[in-house]
Symmetry: C2
């Protein structure tokens, strides 16, 4: 619509754009002042810190968007195969600092704002986390986007823009979790671009009609036409993701549900105006809430609506982009790769098949072959209770056409299985996408396996279990090659450089460059300095600084009921993650009680030998997860008693802290301060874990089981001698479960004693806990706490012993960090690009 | 928080701000391009007209806000008495064009964008109306804000930011109104500033406690303390209002309801997380919908919630501003005047009394005297069914403390009445704020009268009725002086200069300057040219241009079922306004039928004498107002038959158009094209009307009753000879109503014939209309259609006769326009300022 026929016009546009992109001091100042006045309608006289943050954020955003536009234009021109990363969660945390660091503008902003009477760095804390995820899965997606951008991959993230992110956790009466809505969009969000021009209709309910006229181009075959009864609109909000040390800025497109402008007339009868408005408001509810579940599928219709809303809008967007290329459908897999981050978006498989067959008239088999070449699926759990299933009856009502397509996919799939294994009906029953039972269910994981060309687990041990246990029948049918491993990784930019600038600077100084930030294997060169006295001292000094800073935060922001400051000389022992039985925070707190009882009875002399510890807990429990909430209560009860113990000498040796509302931003504060962190899940239950990587990267040691990424971390740092291992191994777990269930082995006296202490009322009324504790010693110890407990305090004693020798400890710490090169998310996404997606970097052209 | 201690820092701020404020071509271009890229994330290659509008709007907004900040700072420094205009409706229409014209930047933008390959003026049509009002009352508020800004009055508007404005009307099946939600905020709104820093809690429900400790400073008196059970937050959105030809930019502060960050813990029991989120969403619903009612109070709890939400937030804001002055409470009326635009905000009276007594410990009588000196109330209707009443039971539940205060106000008031009229219990019953009956009701109009120092009507005849009928008892008690008249006015900037640039240019040319835009009485000088041949020709040419343009719009945007273009040579006869029985669109369409029947039976020779007419209807009916919707159906039925009459010659003489979705923007298009407009309400029912003023200002003549502002318009233009008057007079109406009700006078044959034609099925199945028509000739003719009908076609004949003499008609048209000086909203607000508010202009200091 802009008339660019005149060359002078185009030159004018380009000239002004160039002006706008400059980031010299006066340009930054002009942009900042303009946002103070025009965007915020404020003045220097009434500009508080939050206002200053907003203005700065808008100014940074402007720069970000210029680069983002250039990247998108470059991709369009280069037209490479792209990968689309579909994730119902993106746990982004804060943006501003990450942005200016990745774009190398921190100093420029700092200088520009200093001249205006403001300290730029103090504004970071004004930002609210974007917390559109529950835990590891969502944070992984965020790390991967950072790496994809840094490595210039042509990738695009897709997700949902929840009005309410993960709930805010507070602790009521000093012991119970209580949830508050996280209304993060109350203020305008500078880190997104509302794309009112990008909107798609999404239908629900309705009926399927067979079109006797036949399918387009295939007169013989009946065509099915879905007529949804209800429509909402998906509107795009784009979140730019800048790479580090590159001009590439990728995009995460988040969908927000809005009422349709055009909609069903039938709801508009006389006098029903207000009712109709209310209906439209319900449309907005689809993307209202992030389901606060971790590893437990929510059996909610609205959740299924979210999932379909997500894939329907996303596929329309992906196919619109493909259709602009004017290529035949056979080219689709050469231009489009879609990665399913867990099963939540796996309805996308069905939706693509539907669109190709019903809307574009492709033959079933041709369409299905394309679908399988487009999709790949990442499995994140082998916990049986966490595998997503949906009732057929619900799916039939909400998505009648999709349900029929699933039945057809299943039919053709089982036929081919039967050809390979004739007469093995038990196998067919096991492998069916439809679970028969008192209620027919759709097994989303099976659908994802059948509709993808590749399935990956997220750590070696997990991928082995995926292949050999969870999908064994499928591996037998498709061959092992379909099942691969890509060990998770984390971005060293956020998790070391931004979170721990002191350590980052020390490493850069020692290695002579910051190249390690783009090639984390460079860290291995630190091993040479592991025993260097000066380096050790500096290393310890960094840790001390970070521990003091965390102690200060706890003093200021955590309700410590006047218990006085935390001793930052003590060993900081941290377990922060979602609260879940399989992660065994319960075992940790029972271990704390065990230690407390021992200290209590120790003589003054014995006490002198004890390493003072601060046990730091943090994490949220899904609001409906009763046992997890009980564990939080127990942790806090124990904390309250220990911290208030009348014995002042004892209180110097043991202290417990519960930091409420664990978040990405809190993780950035807590992780650098940890001496030892706990990753103590029952072997075979934690798929990978990524916080373990973050702790080690920041020079913290691990105590843990041989589970998830712990196994590979131990290998890379130089073996289990450099970490603290205990507990059953994954291959023993099945057998042990049967044993505790049916044979009831003797319970270790130390464990009994701890349980008795709690039951005795030493930590307040024990009635809420009795059931939970009794189940552990009868047939309810599914996660083998009683089995692993004896070896757990023993491992902790090894930790104490090691800590006493600070030189040895520091050497271990340095060697731990030095071994982390493998765990960069950069390596992970390169693995994905090569092994699964078949895409190449598409770096920006050198700027003129 | 900004460190301005260094003089260099302050100078830097000032220098950059000055840069940002410049509106030379290259500054505009830079600002525009920056918004294209950074705000919209677009490029010149994908910038459609809507995108270009958005970028231009943001650029204009930036300029607007600079001036707005300066105005607010100036007011703060000058500290004059301010007036607060409280209105639940502001019918703003579009903003951009009005803005650049008022700020004299249209040419600059036009030039700057032309160089960039864009036509600025074509972007105006991309803007969605801000339609936060139903009709005249809301548009009046918008006009007054324009005038207050133009005259530099220290005023502030307060209203609600409805998510859905007045519904979008479409016509279904060619005849029925159907309502669609007006989701005007789907795109970001550049004309508002979200003030996340300005937010107040608003409580509902709960209970009242008597504090035995006594009231602050008054140990004897019991203090009442309201403890609301539910809280929501009111967040401010500011809408800057630029004056014409001045740097003053006023503010309308609109409140939006949001969930509280802190809220009642009790709703947060285990597992109720999702329920709680849903509850928070309900908080947002308070400002979700503008009640689509016109002159009928909605008996909805949510509506009462809206009203209290509005006044509670507004008073907190006003009192916060007052408290900054550190003055004693006795100064309140010297700094604060509050105008209630109708009774909708009259809970503000109770709220102020509550805050003064309960929260600040003032004595009841002292507080009440202050309240009365602060408030003034504008009455907008004398229709009994339109007077707002609320059930005591509802008010008691929603606002328990306020209900008790109302009872107390009433008690003290009635005591003083009884002192003046001892023993006149009938009078007490009549004047009581509480209406006794099968359900106790609060009479909001009485509350408004008792709590205000001045009550005004909006046209002379209406103010007379207010004093002599509606509030007669109150006038007897308080004296006549409390009841004044301020005849409504309209802003000539929007309603002539912006809406009709051709006529504006002609007037400016003839008067030799555009001073008339700030002093509308200048128009009287046009009278001298009323017979000037050249001027007449130009005058007619303007009207012709505007009629052609409307005909084109109709052809393009109104479903004319292939009836061909409207003949723009015909006389355009317009009735556009809310559809309501008292406004008598029914009489108009019956008149159309009458004319149609006459033309049908006229001979070819007789037909030659007939003036061709296009009857143009437009307007919305409240969705629940059955009869009004029936009238729309009848208009369209008649339209469909007449326009499809097989007699092509007849179709040249009469044509009916229904323009759907009447709005401010459509009014700006329709009004300049009118030859005659209809203002035919039953005498005594229309308070003022303002569209009558708009039509006449644009050189259209009136046909009307002696009602509302018609009376004064006729006086000012030089008497009823210059307009077309008919029908009963207000003082006859009561008597006539009794007559038609009890005596059933003979119905005029012309009327009978029209009704019979409809009943015969000539306009399709008549069954929907039979009841409505039969009621007119039995006891249901409350609005006296049968009484006025005979004189109505007769008046239309006078219109025809006048129109045939185009010179005479043009003279009348010029004289009409020339007489409109009195009806400028500038005069109205000056009247308010002098007679009611006691405020003075506070012009901006001369710029350096």
């Amino acid at each position: 619509e802009v008339d660019l026929s005149n060359i002078a016009t185009l030159e004018l546009w380009n000239k002004i754009r160039k002006d706008c992109e400059s980031v010299d001091t006066s340009s930054i100042q002009r942009s900042f002042v303009n946002h103070v006045y025009s965007t915020l309608a404020r003045t220097p006289y009434n500009l508080d810190e939050f206002g200053a943050y907003q203005a700065a954020a808008h100014s940074v955003r402007d720069q970000l968007i210029h680069k983002w536009i250039s990247t998108q234009q470059h991709f369009t021109r280069s037209n490479p195969k792209r990968v689309y990363y579909l994730s119902l969660e993106f746990l982004m945390g804060r943006t501003m600092q990450n942005c200016v660091i990745n774009m190398d503008m921190e100093e420029a902003y700092s200088k520009a704002l200093r001249e205006m009477g403001l300290a730029f760095e103090t504004l970071y804390d004004q930002e609210t986390d974007a917390a559109l995820g529950n835990g590891g899965l969502g944070r992984l997606a965020a790390c991967y986007m950072d790496s994809l951008a840094t490595l210039d991959y042509p990738a695009l993230g897709y997700g949902l823009r929840y009005t309410y992110g993960i709930f805010e956790q507070r602790i009521r009466n000093g012991e119970d979790q209580v949830e508050y809505p996280d209304y993060w969009l109350r203020f305008t969000n500078p880190w997104e671009v509302a794309r009112v021009d990008v909107a798609y209709p999404v239908g629900f309910y309705g009926s399927v009609h067979n079109d006797s006229a036949g399918r387009a181009g295939q007169p013989g075959q009946p065509a099915a036409r879905w007529e949804p009864a209800e429509f909402v609109q998906a509107v795009a909000y784009d979140v730019p993701i800048p790479g580090y040390d590159t001009d590439t800025v990728l995009n995460i497109r988040l969908w927000s549900s809005k009422p349709q402008r055009q909609f069903d007339l039938s709801s508009f009868n006389d006098g029903e105006y207000e009712k109709s408005v209310a209906e439209k408001q319900r449309a907005e509810n689809i993307t209202s809430v992030l389901y606060p579940n971790d590893n437990t599928p929510a059996g909610k219709e609205l959740r299924l609506k979210q999932q379909y809303f997500f894939v329907c809008a996303t596929l329309q967007d992906i196919l619109r982009r493909f259709s602009k290329l004017n290529l035949p459908w056979s080219e689709l897999p050469n231009k489009v790769g879609i990665q399913l981050n867990d099963t939540h978006p796996s309805l996308g498989i069905v939706e693509l098949q539907r669109v190709l067959v019903d809307e574009h008239g492709l033959e079933w088999d041709i369409a299905w072959a394309l679908v399988q070449r487009v999709y790949a699926y990442t499995n994140h759990t082998v916990l049986p209770e966490a595998l997503e299933c949906w009732p057929v009856s619900l799916m039939e009502r909400l998505l009648p056409r999709h349900m029929r397509i699933i039945f057809d996919i299943n039919l053709y799939f089982l036929r081919s299985v039967e050809q390979r294994f004739p007469g093995d009906y038990e196998r067919l029953r096991r492998m069916s996408i439809i679970e028969e039972g008192h209620q027919q269910m759709v097994r989303m994981a099976y659908l994802a396996v059948v509709g993808s060309h590749t399935v990956n687990g997220v750590a070696r041990i997990h991928s082995d279990l995926v292949r050999s246990k969870l999908f064994r029948d499928f591996a037998e049918f498709y061959g092992d090659d379909k099942f691969v491993n890509i060990t998770n990784g984390i971005t060293p930019r956020r998790w070391l450089h931004v979170a721990n600038p002191q350590l980052s600077a020390l490493i850069t100084k020692r290695l002579g460059s910051n190249r390690w930030l783009k090639d984390l294997t460079e860290l291995s060169r630190l091993k040479a300095f592991a025993d260097d006295e000066d380096f050790q001292q500096e290393w310890r000094q960094v840790k001390r600084t970070r521990k003091e800073s965390l102690a200060e935060y706890i003093q200021k922001h955590v309700d410590t009921a006047g218990e006085g400051p935390v001793n930052s000389e003590a060993l900081f022992d941290v377990q922060v993650k979602r609260i879940h039985e399989y992660k065994r925070q319960l075992m940790n707190i029972l271990g704390v009680v065990h230690r407390y009882l021992r200290i209590k009875e120790a003589s003054a002399e014995e006490r002198r030998d004890i390493v003072p510890r601060v046990f730091i807990f943090g994490g949220k429990a899904a609001p409906g997860y009763h046992t997890a909430k009980l564990i939080i209560k127990l942790i806090n009860r124990v904390k309250n008693v220990i911290n208030a113990d009348p014995d002042a000498e004892l209180r110097k040796l043991i202290r417990v802290v519960y930091i409420p509302n664990y978040s990405v931003t809190l993780a950035e504060r807590i992780i650098p301060a940890s001496d030892i962190s706990e990753h103590i899940s029952t072997a075979g239950t934690e798929a990978s874990g990524t916080s373990n990587m973050k702790f080690v990267l920041n020079g913290g040691l691990l105590i843990g089981t041989r589970d998830g990424a712990n196994v590979e971390i131990a290998e890379h740092i130089g073996g289990w001698d450099l970490a603290f291992e205990f507990g059953a191994k994954a291959e023993e777990v099945d057998d042990l479960r049967n044993k505790v269930r049916y044979l009831r082995p003797e319970i270790h006296p130390a464990f009994r004693r701890v349980v008795e202490a709690i039951k005795s009322g030493q930590f307040g009324d024990s009635s809420p806990f009795v059931n939970m504790l009794d189940r552990l010693v009868s047939d309810g110890d599914y996660y083998l706490i009683t089995v692993d407990f004896p070896s757990y305090p023993e491992a902790q004693e090894r930790v104490d012993a090691a800590y006493k020798d600070q030189k040895k400890w520091t050497r271990m710490s340095i060697e731990n960090c030095a071994g982390m090169g493998f765990f960069s998310a950069d390596r992970s996404v390169q693995d994905y690009a090569k092994k699964i997606w078949g895409i190449n970097p598409c770096p920006p052209p050198p700027s003129k």
